[in-house]
């Protein structure tokens, strides 16, 4: 049976049609970055690279929430989660991400009450059911996850729940794209922007970026045909010397975005500087709780101090996340660094570029195409 809005975008014939179109329109080498980790996952999982012209290079952007969460936030998460009075709630794939010395799975094995939830609202329910405990939700991610986290805090306030807080590590996409574009080592010529981020935020905030850096930005979905169509739109712009914002993911994204979600964001969060793992601090690139909701900030509540700089590592996450290098170009990729012993976050998350490359491209298979 057909799954509406999914199956038609996974159709082999349509994919082959776009593959042929890409071959026809591409006359020069181009380097395009897909911003979102969900897109990276789909590209590698479906073998989309095989369907692209050889002179088109896809680089994988910083849009994996797990990858860009800095070790110091993870260390804070683990310190809070280890406290006996705390129930620490998180999305599943944050549990395996190493901080500077351990991960949340190890905290749980050591007796910490760490729970996987599917929505921040689940952790609100846990808080209501456990009035004697402090319930902390690990609010990570981009503009996609932020509205639900904002709603959880608004709801906690409405219900008068004082034993609920967020450990916030929210980041936003446009400043990261600008950081990549203004880097001297940048090689990105066009973007597939993150469809779900734009579902919330709309596409307008990308228009000044396209104009300033003269770079085509195509808001793109996550299914194979979405990505191939987004690539075709982007390359068509590049070939014709255009640099505008286009919307491939129109079935989900409006130019103005989701206004009620944006209102909730504006009420609960303010824009602050944030540190990105492997990239460093980017001004005005993250979200923190506003004064009105400061009582729900776990960092305030538990008085956690900042940790020092990240330890030196052989991981080149920064170069991977800004598209300067691809995972197999890393000297420790697949050898010292693999999903069982990750040296950096991009090898941990299923959306991380290194993990996706490792999972779907190793062991090397001769004649697999």
């Amino acid at each position: 049976m057909l799954m509406k809005f999914v199956d038609e975008y996974r159709d082999g014939k349509s994919a082959q049609k776009y593959s042929a179109l890409l071959a026809r329109i591409t006359t020069r080498p181009w380097t395009i970055m897909e911003v979102c980790g969900g897109q990276t996952h789909s590209i590698v999982k479906n073998g989309i690279i095989e369907l692209l012209p050889k002179n088109v290079s896809l680089v994988h952007g910083p849009g994996c929430p797990v990858c860009v969460t800095p070790a110091e936030i993870l260390d804070k998460a683990m310190e809070i989660a280890s406290r006996p009075e705390v129930i620490f709630c998180s999305f599943g794939d944050m549990l395996r991400v190493p901080g500077s010395s351990r991960d949340l799975f190890q905290v749980r094995a050591g007796g910490g009450d760490v729970r996987i939830v599917y929505s921040p609202m689940d952790s609100l329910k846990i808080a209501a059911e456990n009035p004697g405990k402090e319930v902390v939700f690990f609010a990570v991610g981009f503009e996609t996850t932020a509205p639900a986290n904002a709603m959880a805090v608004i709801e906690a306030k409405r219900q008068g729940l004082r034993n609920f807080s967020l450990l916030v590590s929210q980041v936003i996409v446009p400043p990261a794209m600008e950081a990549i574009l203004s880097s001297p080592s940048n090689r990105v010529q066009g973007f597939l922007a993150a469809g779900h981020v734009c579902t919330v935020m709309g596409t307008m905030e990308y228009e000044p970026i396209a104009l300033k850096y003269q770079v085509p930005i195509v808001v793109t979905g996550f299914e194979p045909v979405d990505i191939l169509q987004g690539m075709a739109m982007c390359i068509l712009q590049l070939e014709n010397g255009h640099a505008i914002v286009e919307n491939q993911y129109a079935r989900s994204v409006r130019r103005t975005g989701n206004l009620p979600a944006q209102e909730a964001l504006a009420k609960v969060f303010r824009v602050i500087k944030r540190k990105w793992r492997g990239i460093g601090e980017i001004p005005a690139s993250g979200l923190g709780l506003t004064e009105e909701f400061a009582a729900y900030d776990a960092e305030n509540k538990f008085g956690i101090v900042s940790y020092g700089a990240e330890a030196e590592s052989e991981c080149i996450a920064g170069l991977i996340l800004t598209g300067v290098k691809k995972p197999p170009e890393c000297p420790v990729f697949g050898t010292k660094c693999n999903p069982d012993h990750p040296l950096g976050a991009p090898m941990v998350s299923s959306e991380g570029a290194c993990s996706a490359y490792y999972r779907y491209r190793l062991p090397p298979v001769a004649g697999s195409s």
Binding site: Q16, E50, F91, H196, P224, P339
Partner: protein
């Protein structure tokens, strides 16, 4: 049932000195020991203590449900007739939360899982042992339901439950019931059914749609509120294998797809058999409800657990006949030919859009993605 000592000794209560408890008793002595409670509705540590309480539990719950002469002999072990020819033997432990989930429960799983492991050796089920680790506080009604489900599954599979054991652990040290079963089966063919028998040129058959057990359990465990009728596929696979054997199919390898799902099983077989396995994603049946649930959670059905599905490797020239034999049995009526074997290594999948990608094992368990 054999009855070795409890893992955790519970120190007997110090007998109280009646004169200290009630000084007036000295002159008015009438000792009235409280009668022990023998009809507790819940499992207590005493049910594992080897005494009357335990024997009453064995009689009331286990012997009643399984009704096997070997079990009724109440001996340390079972004295059983042995078939001529080779035997297959296997063991497995069952831990699942919740104990009852849509489509099945831990009891049926603990029988079918072990019977299926025997079936994957091409062995017909004969005898089974069952050990229970019960958590103090478990409702005896619940245990009875689990055991009844085991009894039904055993009857359905044609396997005798011939001996068993019971232990009780303190509250908080178990998850209601843990069950360990071991099974013995009779092999009455001359085939070597194992991964090393897989040959380049073999066809790869899958017995039906994948991912239902894992998603059904996850749906109730995490209270995801799926509105569909998503049910576990937990079932006995022996009739499917029996059909292949009776049909004279020269089976090279069988593997039931439990934890880690289809992908993990194929990677294991490719590694052990030193062959490359190619399969086609489009040929792998996945129900709409499983797909929907996986989409929402960011999981890949290829890695989701099953309890009633298997793959079969057979010579290419027998593939179509094997397929129609499988389709003639209810449990494998949705069987498909999904791939082939060639010289080389690794598992390669032709994706839905026609590109190839290698398939690898997961590092740990599959975790729901953030977005």
């Amino acid at each position: 049932m054999s009855n070795p000592p409890q893992r955790r000794e519970v120190s007997p209560a110090t007998p109280a000195d009646p004169t200290k408890q009630n000084p007036s008793m000295a002159g008015d002595f009438s000792l009235a020991c409280p009668i022990p409670i023998t009809n507790s509705p819940r499992i207590t540590l005493g049910h594992g203590g080897g005494g009357r309480l335990m024997h009453s539990l064995i009689d009331r719950v286990f012997k009643k449900a399984f009704g096997d002469p070997a079990l009724d002999s109440s001996h340390d072990g079972a004295d059983l007739p042995s078939p001529s020819g080779r035997l297959a033997m296997t063991t497995d432990s069952y831990v699942v939360h919740p104990l009852f989930f849509p489509g099945s429960d831990i009891g049926a799983m603990s029988i079918n899982g072990t019977v299926n492991d025997l079936a994957m050796c091409g062995a017909s089920p004969l005898y089974l042992t069952a050990s229970f680790i019960l958590e103090e506080g478990l409702a005896i009604d619940t245990l009875e339901k689990v055991v009844l489900s085991m009894s039904n599954a055993a009857k359905n599979a044609g396997i005798r439950v011939v001996t068993g054991d019971t232990k009780v652990v303190e509250r908080g040290k178990g998850d209601g019931v843990f069950i360990c079963t071991a099974g013995v089966g009779a092999i009455s063919h001359n085939l070597a059914i194992n991964p090393c028998s897989v040959r380049p040129g073999d066809a790869l058959l899958l017995s039906g749609d994948i991912g239902r057990h894992g998603m059904a359990v996850m749906g109730v465990r995490e209270n995801l509120g799926f509105s569909s009728n998503l049910e576990s596929d937990c079932a006995c696979l022996w009739p499917c294998i029996e059909a292949l054997l009776k049909g004279g199919i020269q089976i090279h390898c069988l593997r039931d797809l439990t934890r880690g799902g289809l992908a993990t099983s194929l990677v294991e077989i490719s590694g052990t058999g030193k062959v490359r396995i190619r399969f086609n994603e489009n040929a792998v049946p996945v129900g709409e409800d499983v797909r929907g649930a996986c989409e929402v959670l960011g999981l890949d059905p290829l890695y989701v657990a099953n309890e009633g599905r298997f793959v079969a490797f057979v010579p290419a020239n027998e593939a179509e006949r094997a397929l129609s034999l499988l389709r003639s049995v209810g449990q494998s009526s949705g069987a498909q030919i999904i791939g082939t074997v060639e010289a080389g290594e690794g598992v390669v999948m032709k994706s839905i859009i026609g590109a190839s990608r290698p398939i690898d094992m997961l590092s740990g368990e599959q975790l729901p993605r953030i977005c």
